[in-house]
């Protein structure tokens, strides 16, 4: 097959601009505006912190910052996995299934109050392996059966949730292994170990995105799947690996969640999907793929966590809090992408 090098020429965003919306260019498209847009999430985060601090100075206390770090640990780890999938232009809805599977395996294999198992840290390995396997399954279903990731992962979500509810018998089982619980209760340099684990997950995600072939291929697929394929990227392998990597991060998050709560129950993962997708999108990673990355997601997670913490600090009614979160998603998406340039809005 011969490839016409002309069609392969990367099309920059600026070149795609049509004459029709050139009018807007002056206000919305300048290089400076583009840079501003890149840093918009970070600016939002800083402004948010300043506003909350003005309203309630307790916010900036070291104790509270540690609490925010602690609350961000699980969502950050989850969102790291989710970032790769969204970068690829896919979506992974199986977050809650994978997380509950990991928490279930961990609790049932480590010391608990329902059976006599006591495998200690082997349980952690098994939990992460189980969740990774679910991720790989997602990838295989998508690539081999050619089912869109939305449906494939929706199915796997319920498979995972069903299995873990069944294994837990619908009740909460307590995690009694003190060394695993220490992830949440022990501190190193003032921060709970869970925060350090999440930081390690973040570093790992950075390495994957910026220093491995996988990371580049994921971005390439998200930017334009056909182009990536023509450039010799093995789509199937990259997709399966990416879903597997996501499953790995969900597994780590599951272990952290179970360690924090000291138990695993059927609803341990409830609401985590929303939180993960929100964090990724708010951070500025485009749902269309190919734009953004784990650094954006870190900012996104912090925005979401700081906002949740801030609303409680400010005493905003629980009835209003969800509304604010919804508004924030729309605002963030509106800010992060140049919507006017989009040709199609599905």
């Amino acid at each position: 097959m011969t490839i016409n090098s002309e069609t392969m020429k990367p099309v920059t965003n600026l070149e795609r601009t049509s004459a029709m919306d050139a009018v807007f260019a002056r206000f919305f498209r300048g290089e400076a505006a583009r840079r501003l847009r890149t840093f918009a999430p970070l600016i939002v985060l800083v402004v948010l912190c300043i506003l909350i601090t003005i309203a309630n100075p307790n916010f900036i206390e070291l104790r509270n910052l540690i609490r925010i770090a602690n609350s961000a640990a699980v969502p950050l780890t989850l969102a790291m996995g989710m970032t790769f999938i969204i970068l690829m232009g896919s979506i992974d809805l199986s977050v809650e299934g994978a997380l509950s599977i990991a928490a279930m395996v961990l609790v049932l294999l480590a010391t608990n109050d329902a059976n006599a198992n006591d495998y200690g840290w082997l349980a952690v390995v098994a939990a992460i392996a189980a969740s990774t396997a679910m991720g790989v399954l997602n990838g295989i279903i998508q690539t081999v059966l050619r089912i869109p990731s939305f449906m494939a992962t929706l199915g796997v979500w319920f498979i995972g949730l069903g299995i873990s509810v069944f294994m837990l018998g619908g009740s909460a089982i307590r995690l009694m292994d003190n060394s695993i619980r220490s992830l949440a209760l022990e501190r190193f340099l003032g921060l709970p170990l869970a925060v350090w684990v999440a930081a390690a997950a973040f570093l790992l995600a950075i390495v994957i995105q910026y220093h491995t072939r996988l990371g580049r291929h994921i971005l390439a697929i998200g930017g334009g799947e056909d182009v990536a394929e023509l450039s010799g990227v093995n789509l199937q392998r990259v997709r399966i690996t990416a879903f597997g990597v996501a499953g790995f991060f969900f597994g780590v998050a599951g272990v952290l969640a179970a360690a924090q709560l000291g138990q695993s129950n059927a609803v341990i993962a409830d609401g985590r999907l929303f939180a993960a997708v929100t964090a990724v999108v708010v951070g500025g990673t485009a749902l269309t793929g190919g734009e953004g990355g784990v650094l954006n997601t870190l900012v996104g997670v912090l925005i979401v966590t700081v906002l949740a913490n801030g609303m409680v600090l400010l005493g905003i009614s629980p009835y209003v809090q969800q509304t604010v979160q919804g508004l924030m998603i729309i605002a963030a998406v509106a800010l992060s992408l140049d919507r006017l340039r989009l040709k199609i809005v599905k």
């Binding site: 309630n56 307790n58 916010f59 206390e61 104790r63 509270n64 609490r67 602690n70 609350s71 109050d113 949730l161 069903g162 509810v165 069944f166 018998g169 619908g170 009740s171 909460a172 307590r174 949440a184 209760l185 709970p192 969640a257 924090q260 709560l261 000291g262 138990q263 129950n265 059927a266 609803v267 341990i268 409830d270 609401g271 949740a308 913490n309 409680v312 600090l313 005493g315 629980p318 009835y319």
Partner: protein, 360 residues
């Protein structure tokens, strides 16, 4: 236990579950008729699941009562599937020719009507618990629909609040964690808290937050509230034990477990253990062991004409049962009799736990 319902409904539209349900129904109807002795009635318990500890204890209570009166006992499990629950009951009615007593925790509110109608048509005696439509009344199905039993969320919410207030010495600030905003049990329990607050002006409700019955949400909310109020928080009121344990873990992460008492409702094992260690001030339980026995006892006594349901006062036909509170004073005893072994109840006084007629 009402709050566990959404979770259990998860499998409702699952075709496989439906097939298993149909198969079980067939299996029941295929049982030889002579299994069921002609004269003696069969005691039947219909519950949601055997894998959740609440209903597992319910079943042991039912079996203890069956042993006490020397009758055969059958447990039907709906697995959260209303169709299966109703079909199994109808199959049992056909099998026993109506010579049976049913104690049912209907899977969903509307299920109570077809269950009661089927029992009335077959001449069986039935007691329902927790779920029934507001316009379905035992007196309209005399004498077969003996009673309906619920537990008063207002008095439960108030009771744990009062124990919490006493534990923190009658004054100071507390935070409260509620269940889903639109859920009846959540609304009632919150009303109970408000009633208790109205009577104790020295207690200040610092904030009421909604944690949707979940320990995960309670965990995050509690850590945020600890920042906002810090040492002002002297106690935590939670509308169920799951949220209570989430709050407790947030306290533990701050080294406050045992210093700030928590109260909850449901009597789950984690909460009972926490009462033993002094981290929970109390939890309360509807006592599923008693519930498993009393439904059968009411039905059996009505069937054998020991009492006539039609002449009982309204507060014996639709009533709130008495909850059992587990505090540090009785937790060791409760643990010994309910967790390590079976409680000794004889259900001879049918009405000793009636606390009043259900509000309409």
């Amino acid at each position: 236990m009402k709050d566990g319902k959404t979770l259990m409904n998860f499998g409702e539209i699952n075709r496989r579950t439906l097939m298993i349900g149909a198969a079980t129904g067939l299996a029941v109807s295929a049982m030889p008729k002579r299994l069921f002795a002609q004269g003696a009635p069969t005691l039947v318990t219909s519950i949601r699941s055997l894998s959740n500890p609440y209903h597992a204890v319910w079943k042991t209570g039912a079996e203890a009562y069956a042993k006490l009166v020397g009758l055969e006992h059958v447990t039907l499990v709906s697995e959260g599937n209303s169709e299966k629950g109703i079909a199994d009951i109808k199959a049992m009615l056909a099998k026993t020719g109506g010579n049976m007593v049913l104690n049912s925790d209907p899977n969903d509110t509307p299920d109570a009507r077809p269950i009661v109608e089927a029992c009335k048509a077959a001449g069986a005696y039935v007691v329902t618990q927790w779920n029934k439509p507001a316009d379905l009344h035992p007196k309209d199905f005399n004498p077969n629909y003996v009673s309906h039993i619920e537990f008063d969320g207002i008095s439960s919410g108030k009771q744990i609040a009062e124990i919490l207030f006493k534990t923190i010495g009658g004054s100071g600030g507390i935070i409260a964690l509620g269940g889903q905003i639109s859920n009846t049990a959540a609304i009632e329990r919150k009303k109970g808290l408000e009633a208790a607050l109205a009577e104790n002006s020295n207690i200040k409700l610092l904030d009421f937050q909604v944690a949707n019955w979940k320990s995960t949400e309670a965990f995050d909310l509690t850590s945020n509230l600890l920042t906002r109020f810090g040492d002002e928080i002297k106690g935590i009121w939670a509308a169920n034990d799951d949220m209570g344990t989430g709050a407790l873990e947030a306290l533990r992460a701050e080294g406050l477990a045992g210093k700030v008492p928590v109260v909850g409702i449901d009597g789950i094992k984690a909460a009972v253990d926490a009462v033993r260690t002094g981290e929970f001030a109390c939890t309360i339980t509807s006592d599923p062991f008693w519930q498993g026995g009393i439904g059968l006892a009411l039905g059996y006594n009505a069937l054998t004409k020991k009492f006539d349901p039609t002449s009982e006062p309204p507060e014996h036909r639709e009533f709130y049962g008495k909850v059992v509170s587990i505090t540090k004073d009785n937790v060791e005893e409760y643990y010994k009799t309910n967790v390590e072994s079976q409680p000794a109840l004889d259900w001879s006084d049918l009405w000793d736990r009636v606390t009043g007629q259900i509000r309409t």
